[in-house]
């Protein structure tokens, strides 16, 4: 996706070659390669990691929650904002979902998904409204709502929790069901990814999100509907966190007050590792999704290859820092080459 074309003169490279070249240079492929290497090395050490039916299922299933959060987070970060409340939104929506089943036995599962999405979207709307209409940095607003949403969750749930027995079997089965060996929850995640990715690449609104993140002041001068778009990004991010909440309930069967705790930072980490620039304007949800897979898979792989629990977080941290440093180095190099290419054509 990264447009690494350095020529100032119109490109004479054939489209097929250009697309292949862009792909090879893209961040998404690089992260995917790291993911493949991690899986391969772990599988060498313990073949069950990939080749047992459980191993294969977990490889795909475990990242599906973070996948949803990372996609939403990526959209918000692209607009030069951040949403730190997604972990709390996930938890609150998961509890809300469980309660729906408790209060309305026999409620259609599709309706539960719709209500979960809507509830998350509402929480996202609150974030977006506060950010756009009071002009307060998203970091501060969503740090506030992180605690507020978690607080509402705690006072609502008290010491009670939702148990598997509170929810219908058909719903819980979604958590383990597979179609052609691919878990249903993963399919949901990938479908969302596909839709959002398609929107960001081909719709005017999607491109405007990039423009806003690239230079917010210029976006105003262009006459882009900045507030509306940023608000939309937050609503989408909240809705996906809500969806993740429903998925959480189906996957784990129990919802206690710790649900989703700390996941907001994993979501930011996944997006950053996947090449979404923290200052907005560049990156793709594909990258964020692969980042989510890598983050979760590394966490699962480290114990298998015998790295102590204590070091796992440090490894994740190192990965994030490495990704950001790599970004800086690459973009500085690209900028230099672009400037040099320009000077050449000016002199010729």
């Amino acid at each position: 996706m990264s447009s690494d074309t350095l020529l100032v003169e119109p490109s004479t490279v054939s489209p097929a070659k250009r697309i292949v070249g862009d792909l090879l240079r893209s961040r998404e492929i690089a992260v995917a390669a790291v993911l493949v290497v991690v899986v391969a090395l772990t599988t060498l050490k313990s073949p069950d990691f990939l080749f047992s039916s459980n191993g294969w299922r977990d490889l795909l299933l475990t990242p599906s929650l973070l996948l949803l959060l990372a996609v939403g987070q990526a959209v918000v970060i692209i607009t030069r904002n951040v949403d730190l409340s997604v972990g709390s939104t996930l938890g609150l929506t998961a509890y809300f979902t469980g309660n729906l089943f408790v209060d309305h036995p026999g409620i259609p599962i599709v309706l539960v998904f719709v209500l979960g999405l809507a509830f998350g979207a509402f929480l996202g709307f609150v974030n977006g409204f506060l950010v756009t209409f009071f002009n307060v940095p998203a970091l501060v607003i969503t740090l506030g709502t992180l605690y507020i949403y978690r607080g509402i969750f705690l006072s609502w749930a008290g010491s009670s929790r939702i148990n598997a027995s509170d929810m219908p079997h058909s719903f819980l089965d979604l958590g383990t069901k597979q179609i052609l060996t691919i878990p249903v929850l993963t399919i949901i995640g990938l479908a969302v990814l596909g839709l959002v990715g398609y929107y960001l690449y081909t719709a005017r609104g999607g491109r405007e999100l990039y423009a806003i993140g690239s230079d917010p002041d210029a976006a105003v001068l262009y006459g882009l509907p900045v507030k509306r778009r940023v608000l939309g990004a937050f609503v989408l991010c909240g809705a996906l966190a809500g969806l993740a909440g429903v998925v959480y309930a189906a996957r784990y069967g129990t919802v206690s007050s710790g649900a989703g705790y700390g996941m907001e930072l994993q979501a930011v980490g996944a997006a950053v590792i996947g090449g979404v620039a923290i200052f907005g304007g560049s990156g793709t949800v594909w990258g964020a999704a692969i980042g989510a897979f890598l983050l979760v898979t590394i966490n699962r792989a480290l114990p298998v290859v015998g790295i102590s629990d204590f070091w796992q977080r440090a490894v994740v941290g190192a990965l994030i820092i490495a990704a950001v440093v790599l970004d800086r180095v690459l973009s500085a190099r690209q900028e230099r080459r672009l400037v040099a290419a320009r000077d050449e054509t000016r002199e010729s």
Binding site: T5, L6, R204, Y210, G213, L221, Y222, E335
Partner: protein, 519 residues
């Protein structure tokens, strides 16, 4: 209005347009009438209200009063989107592009060609961009990101944007300020072809040779007011200059003569690639030297280099015969240089801190007892200075944020005077300060010079320079183009030197009577 086209065929018309920001009047009564198929120059000194007028046309600001018509119909733009859809394109001095996106996306953002299902038709978009670049005669890959483009290329992108919008009115705010000769020629060729298509162009520039080469009509503004409109063929540089500056100098506090002493500051051969070249001058004790010129001429950069904030490639700076090392502001302060920067809120003050803390800021090392600095120490040191400069604040612990621009400037001055400097460099001493306080600042500077302080004053306001300075150095495009004594420093002489092109890379196709100025 002499020389304008008849009412019916006016593309853009503004009459008696006014705009204030709070108590500051940016535009008193701006008027402009541009005919289709015409390139109309808008000239005036810095702060004459040109940019405000442009921003009203662009929909960035809303006018307070006055008539604003587009093709004969009254309009009132509340946003840039509205002005765009009405066919107005504005190219700002600093192009506003999205660095992460491709140049093509920059051109079409918000109105990309869409195919079925409202999905963006990328092949069509790239083809159209390539067509635009071909038409403009530039070689830019439509797929490359905007990051890394030169200002000239960025302006071409902006122009491509305007053409693809099919804008009927195109405003260019100092588009040539950052361009080389070849690039200026390319831009002019494009502008002429747009004119020939019947579009109305407004061209804002400080370079008279360019105005005379490109435009057919010229409107002069001064102090936020409309002065005149003339056909280029019927006017001259002298006439325009006199209209731009035609104002009484007497309204300001003049400098009282002081005894001129020894050379304090001696700058020799100072150069910094791309910013200024071969700058040599001196300032004597008791003398006020004015550094005049247009915004962006390199005056502030010279001051920053002398003080050691920025580095330089060649040359030397001496204070009373002792060399001041480059890039060491601390050494400069030790040598006795004080520097009041242009942007006092950002660079001159810690606005959240108290007056006393600000005043004691530079000398705080001297005030400490065993490494500790108390509020009492700061207040004791700041008190006399605040008193002497009549800083109007209730207490020394009031924060600088709450103060007026004039009082803030006095705090900055107090801070530096507390270091007992030998040379005071002051950049735009009265910018954003009301008239009454202005006179106070001027009186203060005059008194300081009388006490033997050497003062280097940068100012974009001609009356201030002419009223205060014993000598005026005019900077144009990074070079000193004139040195005028107090007697010779007339508004016309300064403006001529400030707008003289020192070198011109490419010949222009119209002969002009550009004043020749030698240093």
């Amino acid at each position: 209005m002499p020389g304008t086209a008849p009412e019916a065929s006016v593309a853009l018309e503004l009459r008696d347009v006014a705009k204030s920001f709070g108590s500051v009047v940016a535009l008193r009564s701006g008027s402009l009438a541009v005919a289709p198929g015409s390139i109309h120059a808008l000239v005036g000194e810095n702060g004459a209200g040109k940019s405000t007028l442009v921003k009203i046309v662009a929909g960035v600001h809303r006018r307070d009063s006055g008539v604003f018509r587009l093709h004969g119909a009254d309009v009132d733009f509340g946003s840039t989107a509205e002005s765009k859809s009405a066919g107005v394109a504005v190219i700002y001095q600093e192009p506003t592009l999205f660095p992460d996106l491709s140049v093509t996306e920059n051109i079409f953002m918000g109105r990309q060609p869409v195919g079925r299902g409202r999905r963006i038709d990328r092949p069509a978009m790239y083809a159209e961009a390539a067509g635009l670049f071909q038409r403009l005669g530039v070689a830019i890959d439509p797929r490359r990101p905007a990051r890394g483009l030169s200002i000239a290329d960025q302006q071409i992108i902006e122009i491509a944007k305007a053409i693809s919008l099919d804008a009927s009115v195109l405003v260019m705010d100092e588009p040539t300020a950052a361009l080389s000769g070849v690039e200026v020629d390319r831009l002019f060729a494009v502008a002429r072809s747009l004119r020939d298509e019947g579009r109305a162009l407004v061209f804002i520039s400080h370079r008279f040779d360019e105005v005379f080469a490109l435009c057919d009509t010229v409107t002069v503004m001064r102090d936020g007011e409309y002065v005149s409109t003339d056909s280029i063929a019927e006017t001259s540089v002298e006439q325009i200059v006199s209209r731009m500056v035609g104002r009484e100098v007497g309204e300001l506090f003049p400098k009282t003569p002081a005894e001129i002493g020894d050379v304090v500051l001696d700058v020799a051969g100072l150069s910094s690639t791309g910013t200024f070249h071969d700058i040599s001058f001196s300032v004597r004790a008791g003398e006020i030297v004015g550094l005049a010129g247009l915004v962006g001429a390199g005056r502030s950069e010279i001051a920053r280099a002398v003080f050691g904030v920025d580095g330089y490639d060649a040359g030397s700076v001496h204070i009373s015969g002792t060399a001041v090392p480059p890039k060491k502001p601390r050494a400069a302060i030790k040598a006795g240089i004080a520097f009041v920067p242009e942007d006092r809120r950002k660079q001159g003050l810690v606005t959240e801190s108290s007056v006393a803390r600000n005043v004691a800021g530079v000398i705080r090392g001297r005030l400490t007892h065993a490494g500790l600095l108390t509020n009492a120490d700061e207040n004791r040191a700041a008190g006399p200075w605040a008193g002497r400069l009549e800083v109007k604040t209730n207490a020394l612990d009031a924060t600088a944020t709450t103060m007026s621009g004039g009082n803030q400037q006095k705090v900055v001055l107090a801070k530096w005077l507390a270091t007992q400097p030998r040379l005071l460099i002051i950049d735009e001493p009265t910018r954003g300060i009301d008239v009454g306080t202005k006179a106070e600042v001027h009186r203060l500077l005059s008194d300081l010079a009388g006490e033997g302080l050497a003062i280097l004053m940068i100012s974009s306001e001609l009356p201030e320079v002419l009223g205060m300075a014993d000598r005026v150095l005019v900077v144009c495009e990074g070079r000193i183009t004139a040195e005028l004594s107090r007697e010779d420093a007339t508004p016309e002489a300064v403006m001529h030197a400030a707008t003289a092109r020192v070198t011109h890379a490419a010949p222009l196709d119209t002969p002009l009577d550009t004043p020749e100025v030698t240093a």
